[in-house]
Each structure stands twice: as C-alpha cells, then as structure tokens.
C-alpha cells in the first residue's frame, strides 16, 4: 500500500508491505529510506516496533484533524493522505478562505463577546464557553470581521460545532 503522509510540516511518501512469511514483519519505504521491522498493535492504537533491535512503542490517536502520534515523550501530528484524497485536495488548491471558529470541546455558551459584523483583533475573545466547571474564552485566530455568529448565549454545543466565521 502507498500513502502520502504529512508530518511536522513535511510531506513524505510511504509504502508498506507485509511479508507473508514472518508474522509481524513489515517492509516500509519512506522517502527513499527502507525499513524492515517487526510490528504489532499490542493495545488498541499502540504499535510495538522492533527495528534493528531497537524497541519502540508508538501510540496513534485519531481525531477529526488527522492523527496524533506519541513516541516517547513526544507527540507529533501526522496526516495520511491516500491517492483519492490527495486528488481531491489538489482540486481545491489555491482557494482563498474565511476562517471558521469551532468549539474545541463540548460545553455551554455562557457569554457572547462580539456582535455580528463587528471588527475583531487577533486573539480577541469571541465567546465564553463553560465545561467542567471552567470558563474558557474562545479567541479569534485572526484580525477581521465577524461574518457570522452561529451560537446563542445558553446554547449547548458539541466539540467541532461552528461558533463563528471570521473574514
């Protein structure tokens, strides 16, 4: 199988082949480098690799944005793009966009700090959300105008729900 991955801002081509004769044996090619390793998913999302007698435990947690891969005390975001999605992506290259601000967690909107069409500074608060007894200000990712306010005070939102659009 061939994939394209994006890790630490870098785009790399990956090819994985499982050797059918040795259980757990994986032959991998990444950006021209070849690895022969023994790998298994020992716990859900946790991969134990042995490569050149070095032992690695690598945890992969999926989220809506891609994966977060933990190795030792490091965590890195990794995105896997297969040929189909890569094509789809390419088709969308070059568009200009507004920014959506989405709820980073489930919670309640306790306060709305800006009005629609108001001017916003970078990092200016848009709404205050409450979850787990804590209030958190959701801030603007850029200077701009509030094009849309998608929530009302008192509303319950889920993680990922649209809060506002900034242009």
């Amino acid at each position: 199988m061939k994939y394209t991955a994006i890790i630490q801002g870098e785009r790399v081509e990956v090819e994985l082949n499982r050797a059918s004769d040795v259980p757990g044996r994986i032959d991998a090619r990444i950006g021209g480098r070849a690895y022969t390793l023994e790998g298994r998913e020992v716990e859900p999302g946790l991969y134990a690799f042995i490569w050149e007698n070095r032992s690695f435990e690598i945890a992969v947690a999926g989220n809506a944005e891609g994966y977060t891969v933990s190795i030792g005390r490091f965590r890195v975001p990794v995105e896997i793009v297969d040929s189909r999605t890569a094509l789809r992506r390419a088709a969308h290259q070059g568009h200009e966009g507004a920014m959506e601000v989405r709820a980073p967690m489930p919670g309640k909107i306790v306060k709305i700090l800006v009005a629609e069409n108001a001017e916003l500074q970078l990092n200016q608060g848009i709404v205050v959300m409450e979850a787990m007894k804590m209030q958190n200000e959701i801030k603007s990712p850029k200077k701009g105008t509030v094009r849309k306010l998608a929530v009302k005070e008192g509303a319950a939102v889920n993680a990922g729900d649209l809060l506002a659009a900034i242009e």
Partner: protein, 500 residues
C-alpha cells in the same frame, strides 16, 4: 465505629473514601447524579442513591437531599470529601441537627475559617504572622498611603470581594497609589459589585507551602509535615510535593507550631490544612485554613505512613489520636501530579468524553487514585480531575525520576489529558533543582516553544504507525487544503472555509 458512612461526593475522592471504609470494614453509601449512574464510586459503594440531575446545584450541592439519603440509608456519618459541600458550615450543621456525624470540623470552625477577615483576626490573636497589611477596607487615599509607607513598598491593592487573580494591582511607589486605588475600585465594583479594597505587602516570587494537621475531639493535635504546592497554573495547584525541597527541620517545626496555633484559634478538630506564603528569606505568613481533606493528601500519607482518611473517620468517631507529635516521622519524598481531562496543546481546554483506553502505571513507589475506568464517559458537568498520580522515593530525585517513569507508562485514549504536559514540566532544570515560585508554570507556558523535533528514525516510524493505523481504521476526516494542526496552537480549533 460508624455502622455506615455516606460519601457526599463523586469521582476520585469518593473512591478514595470508599477504599478507606472498605479497609476498615465500614459499609458505604454513594450518591449520584444522573450523569454519574455508571460512575466508579457508585459501582464500588455498597449502596447507591440517585440525588437528581447532572448539574451539581441540583444534586451534589443540595443539602436536604444528602441528609434525606443519610437518614433513609441509616448512615451514621457523612464524609464530604473536598469541594462541593466540604467547607459549607450549613451542611455540617444540617448533619449535626439530623443526628449524623459530619466527618470534619464543627460548623463553627468551618464558618470562622471560611471568612477572610474573621479567620485572620482569630489567628492574629495567637501571634501567627500574616502578610502585613489591612484587614479592613481602606477608606481613603490618605489612609492607603499611610498604611503602605508603614509596611513598605511594593504593596498590592486587593478587592475585598476578589479572588481568582481579578481585582488586584501592584503598587511600586507612592506615585502609583492614586490611580491604582481608583482602577482597582472600579474593576472590583464591576466584577464583584463591591468596591471595597484592602492593602497587603507584595511578596516577591512566593512559595506556597501548607501544613497538614490532625486534631482529635480530646484536645490532641499534631502536624504532619508540609506540602510544597508552589507549582500552580492559573492559581490552581497541579504538582505537589512532600517534603518541600526548601523546608528544613527547624522551619518545619516553626511552621508546624504556627499551624497548631491556628488549630487552637479555630477550635479545630479533624484533618485540616494551614496554608502559608513563604518568601525568599523563608519568612512565612498565614494565608488561610482549608477545613477539609486536600486533593494533595496522598503525598503526606506516603511520607508519614499515616492514612489521613482513616484518621478523619477515627477522629469523627471520637477516638483519640493514636500517636503524638514525636511519633510522626517523615520518610523519603513524594510528589503528586493531578491528571486532568484537559488539552495541554490547546489552551488547556477541558476534554470530557469517553475513555476508550486506560492503562495506569504500576510497580514500585507508585499510587494512582483514580475516579474513572476504561469505558467511562467523563461528564461535562464536573471538574476535570480524573486521577491523582503520586510517587514515592527515598529521595526527592528518586520520587521525581519515578514520576517521569510513571507518566510514561500512563496511557489514556479518547480524551485529552495533561500527562504530556507534566512530562515537559518535570524535565525542566528549575523543577529538578526545586527552584520554584508560584509563577513558574505561567512564565514557562509563555516561553514554551515547540519541543525539539524527534529524530529521523522516530519520525519515519511514527509515519509507519500512522499508516498502519490508517489501514486498519476508518479514515480520519480530512480537512481540505490544510495540513494537520500544530499541537502548539493556543486558541480554538480553526479551519479554512472555502468559497465554492
């Protein structure tokens, strides 16, 4: 001993109390809100009573419901845990009135220590030093200037009704007094509806050190060493240690004696904690007394070998303390990290949700006091503390290295936690040296850059693991035209909106 104990709490502290009761052979009664029907404390208790909807003001905070369950279940005593009603004098009184033992101090002691002004007044009579300043609101600029010059600049102007870092101003000299006074008053009025302010000497780079005390109903009281609680984020403790890396036997004894004076002043019984601010010259000032068990009690338990929850229960049952001050010995060093369901890579936003996978660390010198389990959905309605992880070592360094090892073994999937954040903090040279002040984390977060990159091989293997995971799992939703998010972003999740 009590025939049955009701635990008026939830989460990890309810589990902690149930464990103590089990070891003492005392049956337990849990209470639960609708969000907590399948919670660990409900599963572990012998009895369980529903007390209403998820919001705590309709369940865990409703005194009448708790008293009603205690009476129906024939519980002889109530343990309040911490938080919720633990420092509510009316609750303690309602227990007494209903003929149920409140496992904690008398309502009067809770009331007295709960008042900023009255507690300081009571403690002052016993000669315990406080941060120099006024107890009463200052009435005029002239008075403020007079007081400030008496205690010496720099000073802080603080809103009497304030808290949580709001309504305070730093005043370096006479010239700044007028505007500081005016601004603090105006901020206090708008934030708290009360423009009363008072003046306190500014303590530079302070440490926050607290003394654990136990006092029985027969006039015996002991102190059980100190806890270093200087590592805070937004005025919330996140790492605690026992002993403090800077407290020696002499300072410990002096702080302990001061704490026992506070016990006297409050006519205190049961377990309590006296909090002090310690300046760079190791002068210490009384801050307040917490009239309950602390979140960080495990570090004291590990170093003294005394089970504080069992002591609370024994004291409430009228038993005399089974040991005296000279029997209390500290051995080794313990450190605690509070494991929160929050996202350290995203502004520490809360991260409630279902725990899909949970592996807790184990082996020598490790204690995990958890309130959750694999498969449990951490509710949105309560605070994000899911576990207290504590390690013990013969030395501070051993405890610290063990904590790093334990954090590496800890794995929680499905929700975000601050475990990775602790790994970063504990590796900081200032932390390793014990050179701490209360601003440590906030300063560190401001300067926090991306971590050093992983090596080439590790990066390649990370990609292999992700690709393997991709092969076996439904594909993650792909954001078009946007590379995967940096974990160092500190605001809400943002993505490009395309014009189509």
């Amino acid at each position: 001993m009590f025939s049955k104990i009701l635990i008026a709490n939830r989460g990890e502290i309810a589990v902690r109390v149930i464990r103590a009761c089990r070891e003492m052979g005392i049956p337990t009664v849990a209470v639960y809100s609708e969000a907590d029907r399948g919670a660990l404390h409900v599963r572990m208790a012998d009895e369980a009573y529903a007390i209403g909807p998820a919001p705590s003001r309709e369940s865990y905070l409703v005194i009448e419901k708790l008293i009603d369950v205690a009476l129906r279940s024939k519980a002889a005593a109530i343990h309040p845990g911490y938080g919720f009603l633990a420092e509510n004098a009316s609750f303690a009184k309602a227990c007494v009135d209903a003929g149920i033992t409140f496992i904690g101090p008398a309502p009067e002691s809770i009331g007295l220590m709960g008042s900023k002004v009255e507690s300081r007044r009571a403690v002052a009579q016993y000669g315990v030093e406080m941060v120099p300043g006024t107890l009463d609101p200052v009435s005029s600029e002239e008075e403020a200037l007079r007081i400030a010059s008496a205690i010496g600049y720099p000073v802080m102007i603080k809103a009497s009704a304030g808290g949580g870092g709001k309504g305070l101003r730093f005043v370096k000299s006479e010239q700044e007094m007028e505007s500081a006074l005016r601004n603090t008053r105006s901020e206090a009025l708008s934030a708290f509806g009360d423009d009363a302010v008072y003046i306190e000497k500014f303590v530079e780079r302070p440490r926050h050190i607290e003394i654990q005390v136990l006092a029985d109903l027969h006039g015996n009281a002991v102190y059980l060493g100190e806890r270093e609680c200087t590592i805070q984020r937004r005025h919330q403790k996140v790492i605690e240690e026992c002993p403090s890396p800077v407290v020696d036997a002499d300072l410990r004894a002096r702080m302990g004696e001061a704490a026992l004076k506070v016990v006297k002043a409050a006519r205190y019984n049961n377990a309590g904690t006296v909090e002090f601010l310690v300046d760079r010259n190791f002068r210490f000032y009384f801050l307040e007394m917490n009239t309950r068990l602390q979140v960080e009690h495990p570090v004291t338990e590990m170093v003294t070998g005394i089970d504080l929850v069992k002591q609370q229960i024994r004291i409430a049952a009228g038993e005399k303390l089974a040991f005296r001050q000279e029997d209390v010995a500290l051995r080794g060093s313990a450190i605690e990290c509070r494991i929160y369901a929050e996202d350290p890579d995203n502004n520490f936003f809360p991260s409630p949700g279902k725990i899909h996978f949970l592996r807790t660390p184990s082996g020598p010198g490790i204690r995990d006091d958890s309130g959750v389990y694999e498969g449990w959905t951490v509710p949105i309605d309560y605070d994000p503390l899911i576990s207290k992880l504590a390690t013990w070592g013969a030395t501070r360094d051993e405890a610290l290295q063990r904590m790093k090892r334990a954090l590496r073994e800890y794995r929680v999937e499905g929700i975000k936690t601050n475990i990775s954040f602790f790994m970063e903090i504990l590796g900081h040279p200032d932390f390793e040296r014990g050179e701490l002040d209360t601003g440590f984390i906030d300063r560190w977060l401001e300067n926090r850059g991306p971590e050093s990159r992983i090596s080439g091989v590790e990066q390649d293997l990370a990609v292999v693991a992700a690709a393997l995971h991709y092969t076996g799992k439904p594909a993650p939703i792909l954001r078009e035209g946007k590379p995967a998010e940096s974990p160092w972003k500190t605001s809400g999740r943002i993505r490009a909106l395309r014009r189509r």
